[in-house]
């Protein structure tokens, strides 16, 4: 599976309060959450993000709270993939559970610039920077996780398993 989009670049230790502030957690509607994604961190993000766009960040992306509202907000805003040096572990689980692909690559995180056009092969972890004409390889997503993502996340995956059981 491939995804392609414009890059929105962020720094290191982007916390879940920055991704979606707690003042919006009185509800959990993806569309409502998406309206406020990264609102305090980068106000131009939500105005400009388009379906398929890709986030690039430094280390420890999504640290802090376990709020699944954070990956939900980004996914609903149109983000198709996040590339970072590393992810905070709860955010990593949450993203994959929602079927939002997360790739770790230090090189890509450093070299890719804001506004670049990038294509990602989610099966192989190959990242192609179309603007700079450069390729990077991310650590591949574990096989059973790829199965989860292909099913659309943990819930559709469990539904599928239940159907099979019956």
């Amino acid at each position: 599976m491939n995804t392609e989009g414009k890059i929105w670049k962020f720094g290191s230790d982007i916390d879940t309060d920055a991704i979606i502030p707690a003042r919006y957690l009185s509800q959990s509607d993806p569309k409502e959450l998406a309206k406020h994604a990264m609102e305090d961190e980068r106000p131009d993000f939500i105005k400009g993000v388009k379906e398929g766009d890709i986030l690039v960040a430094g280390k420890n992306f999504g640290c802090g709270s376990s709020r699944e509202h954070a990956p939900i907000a980004l996914k609903a805003a149109g983000v198709s993939c996040i590339i970072a040096k590393s992810f905070a572990r709860i955010f990593y689980r949450n993203g994959l559970n929602l079927g939002l692909p997360l790739l770790e690559s230090s090189e890509a995180s450093e070299v890719i610039q804001d506004g670049d056009q990038v294509r990602v092969n989610l099966d192989t972890g190959e990242i192609t920077n179309l603007t700079q004409d450069k390729k990077f390889s991310a650590k591949p997503i574990p096989a059973f996780m790829q199965e989860l993502i292909a099913d659309g996340g943990l819930i559709p995956h469990l539904q599928k398993k239940r159907v099979k059981k019956k």
Binding site: A22, S26, E68, N94, Q159
Partner: protein
């Protein structure tokens, strides 16, 4: 068989294996699962989407309404209603709201619902708190909570363990909060990413449960998967009279393998303060300079224990807080609330000019009950000081132990407790 750490042993037993190593992916049996009014409504939705007919065990799931409760607005009230209806439909034994509710991570250990040797998951990042009683305990998202509520199981990768050894004698006014802030300052906010943090050493043995809960609570602030203390006499004295189920004690093998070992001489550690906007930005309280504050918050799952309220009261006794400073004290559970009242702590807080809140997570995450305006500065005994965490994006949060927080409320600026009271 190779030697294992306490974390590895607990995960192995819960996956039906004799031996596990870091990196192994396991299907793990869950002893207890937790959700709150912010995270659990999403889990309920996912639970319904899975098509589940019942929860895996009605005594092993807790829903605690603590974040935006008593409901702060209509939307929050709706979220609470979703959980109340769910608890009724699935006959949950452990549904807590109103006068029965408390800050979840103080409430569950107090009720004896999270025990040594268990695997506990919660849709809240501070679920790691229960490592203080010797459980493997970690935070997950709402979807994971839904899966755990349905199947009673969850996959986990066995983490590497970071062994942290503390030795020496604690300085006056230093508690678990200072040790964990110092440690986070040392290893960084991703210093234990994906790892277990095992706390040991002679100084740890002298810590009361309150300090151990505080330390385990903040391992997530170093990126840790879980924090854990081997149960000892102090643990058992706390757990035994409370435990609602039988439990097992695990200990690390002497030859167990650790990814990293670090040692800290606690006699060199003074009260610590984390400066904005990241918990690793830590300094000795005497080195922060003149930082004037508008608000002080004492409470939360990190530092709302009875010991914490007692030390705050000791500092505040017979004193008034500085003009134009707000002090908010939040006893985290009904039991602690009542006990603090009986001991006369409320009298001290009220005389000092504090407002006493019902149990809630409220201000810690900028929910309600003490939100900051632009340009305001708070000192809190909570766990996170991210930009805008307690309110306006241009407000600031500093973190400290309760004694420093109380003394600073009196002075109107961040200070060492010794500036306000001679002796502990």
């Amino acid at each position: 068989m190779s030697p294992m750490t306490i974390t590895e042993k607990i995960l192995a037993v819960h996956a039906g294996k004799k031996q596990v190593s870091p990196g192994d992916l396991l299907d793990v049996r869950i002893d207890f699962a937790l959700g709150n009014d912010v995270t659990a409504p999403l889990a309920v939705k996912a639970f319904q989407e899975i098509g589940a007919k019942k929860v895996f065990h009605r005594d092993r799931v807790a829903l605690v309404l603590d974040h935006f409760t008593p409901a702060k607005d209509i939307l929050s009230a709706e979220q609470c209603k979703v959980l109340r209806d769910f608890a009724k439909t699935y006959h949950l034994t452990h549904f807590y709201e109103g006068g029965e509710a408390g800050v979840e991570h103080t409430l569950l250990p107090e009720k004896g619902l999270v025990l040594p040797g268990e695997v506990v998951i919660g849709a809240d990042s501070h679920t790691c708190t229960y490592g203080a009683v010797g459980a493997f305990s970690t935070g997950v998202g709402s979807t994971d909570l839904a899966a755990a509520m349905t199947t009673g199981k969850l996959w986990f990768k066995v983490p590497e363990t970071l062994r942290l050894v503390y030795y020496g004698k604690l300085n006056p006014w230093v508690s678990g909060k200072d040790l964990i802030l110092f440690t986070i300052g040392d290893i960084g906010v991703d210093g234990a990413l994906y790892q277990a943090m095992e706390f040991c050493g002679e100084a740890i043995k002298t810590l009361p449960m309150s300090s151990r809960f505080t330390m385990a609570n903040m391992v997530i602030e170093a990126g840790g998967k879980n924090g854990i203390f081997e149960p000892d006499d102090v643990t058992l004295k706390y757990v035994k009279p409370r435990a609602k189920r039988p439990y097992r004690i695990y200990r690390s093998d002497p030859e167990a393998h650790y990814a990293v070992e670090r040692e800290y001489d606690v006699s060199t550690i003074n009260p610590q303060v984390a400066l904005p906007h990241i918990p690793s930005n830590v300094k000795d309280v005497r080195k922060v300079g003149k930082i004037e504050i508008d608000q002080v918050v004492i409470g939360s799952c990190t530092n709302g224990h009875l010991d914490d309220l007692r030390v705050a009261a000791k500092v505040l006794k017979g004193k008034k807080i500085a003009p134009f400073v707000r002090l908010i004290v939040i006893p985290p559970t009904p039991v602690i609330y009542r006990q603090a009242m009986k001991e006369g702590l409320f009298e001290i807080f009220l005389s000092a000019g504090a407002v006493i809140s019902p149990p809630t997570c409220g201000p810690c995450l900028g929910g309600y009950m003490g939100i900051l305006a632009a340009g305001e500065r708070a000192l809190a005994t909570t766990n996170r000081n991210f930009r805008g965490r307690m309110g306006h994006i241009e407000s600031e949060v500093y973190l400290s132990n309760p004694a420093v927080a109380a003394a600073s409320a009196v002075k109107g600026r961040i200070c060492h407790p010794e500036e306000v009271i001679k002796r502990i």
